[in-house]
């Protein structure tokens, strides 16, 4: 009984002396989330990317691009997944990109897509056999004409010419004779808008 009493007192003394102060500063919490760019301007033939950041109450931040759910107000103009934006069609226009995580939302980011009105094929005057590089240059609604289109272009050639596309560069190998080269641009999504294919005819003697 004496041993028990001594043990009890010792335990209580140890316990109460080891008790610390109550924590008064809680673990950091989420303050808000944000899309890092409030506005983005892109050409209809390009891709763009956005990132999202979470701000904590202790003033630290973290990248949450892959954790939040991305959505577009008009996916025919711009669609978004994991922060990667793709223009919906060649018409262009504006779309609001928003993010959400379990009821937490951020201010939308405005994406302005500059429309494509047409395009032309470079090297229209090939007159020797051998390899030549072809490019499609877009005509955009903001007046830009020298921008090379590398996305959503399909190249075809007739007769003895062959075309290889590597690293977005189309190389045509031309033999003697008549050759038609056609570049067709297809839309990212189904849309009423379409750009007419461009065809160039070559005659190499």
């Amino acid at each position: 009984m004496k041993l028990f009493t001594i043990t009890l007192y010792a335990t209580m003394i140890l316990f109460f002396t080891s008790c610390g102060d109550n924590t008064e500063t809680p673990l950091s919490d989420i303050s808000h989330i944000e899309i890092d760019s409030p506005t983005t301007t892109m050409y209809a033939t390009d891709a763009a990317s956005l990132s999202a950041t979470v701000y904590y109450t202790d003033a630290t931040t973290a990248d949450v691009t892959g954790q939040v759910t991305w959505s577009s107000s008009d996916s025919s103009i711009a669609s978004v997944s994991g922060g990667n934006i793709v223009a919906g069609n060649s018409n262009g226009g504006d779309a609001n990109i928003t993010i959400k995580y379990r009821g937490l939302t951020a201010s939308p980011s405005l994406v302005s897509v500059i429309g494509l009105t047409g395009f032309s094929i470079t090297n229209a005057d090939i007159n020797t056999t051998g390899e030549h590089i072809l490019q499609a240059k877009g005509n955009f609604s903001d007046g830009t004409t020298e921008k090379v289109i590398v996305k959503n272009i399909v190249w075809t050639a007739t007769n003895s010419a062959t075309i290889e596309v590597a690293n977005d560069i189309a190389t045509i190998t031309v033999s003697t004779g008549d050759t038609n080269v056609t570049a067709t641009m297809f839309e990212e999504t189904n849309s009423s808008s379409s750009i007419a294919p461009e065809t160039v005819s070559y005659t190499v003697n």
Partner: protein
């Protein structure tokens, strides 16, 4: 033949548990909870428990315990509320022929606490429980209980969006209780 076996088994069971009784109790204690984070968050306050048990004061018993732990700390949020838990513990007590019946116990529990975070308004937890103490019999039906509880607590993940972090703590409680055995 099967009927005889069942009857024999029931007779054996009833003789083994002839001394077992249902009992109820209440306890009041002080706890100290220390988190295993780098910053070692801490919470100390008082707790109140109600329990119902079945067994012997001098042998084995099983207890179901409802615990209410006050909260004077701000760990998960600025408004951490009272912590409620339910625990099941197996108690082994001894009769050494002295005035008290020492015991130790082991079990597990689960509980919940309201918090006020941006993404969570409640956090759940589970615990592994160990304890020791002594029953101090007053008579056949009443006894006092002095004890120490240790709980290893694992909390539900806290969602930071960029990551989910699990928090754990060690909780020590000293308590005094009163039991009524029927």
């Amino acid at each position: 033949m099967p009927l005889k076996k069942i009857l024999l088994f029931l007779l054996l069971l009833s003789s083994l548990y002839a001394e077992s009784k249902i009992y109820m109790g209440a306890n009041y204690g002080f706890f100290d909870e220390e988190f295993t984070t780098n910053t070692g968050e801490q919470s100390s306050s008082q707790s109140l428990g109600l329990k119902i048990g079945y067994g012997e004061r001098e042998a084995y018993a099983i207890e179901l315990n409802l615990q209410r732990s006050e909260n004077e700390s701000k760990i998960f949020s600025n408004n951490d509320d009272i912590k409620y838990s339910i625990n099941v513990e197996l108690v082994k007590s001894f009769d050494f022929g002295i005035y008290i019946n020492p015991f130790f116990k082991a079990g597990f529990g689960t509980g919940t606490m309201e918090i006020q975070r941006e993404l969570q308004d409640r956090i759940h937890f589970g615990s592994l429980n160990l304890g020791a103490g002594a029953f101090i019999p007053l008579n056949e039906h009443f006894d006092l209980e002095l004890g120490y509880d240790y709980k290893s607590i694992s909390y539900q993940d806290v969602d930071y969006i960029s990551q989910r972090i699990s928090y754990e703590s060690n909780m020590n409680t000293l308590y005094v209780g009163f039991n009524v055995r029927f």
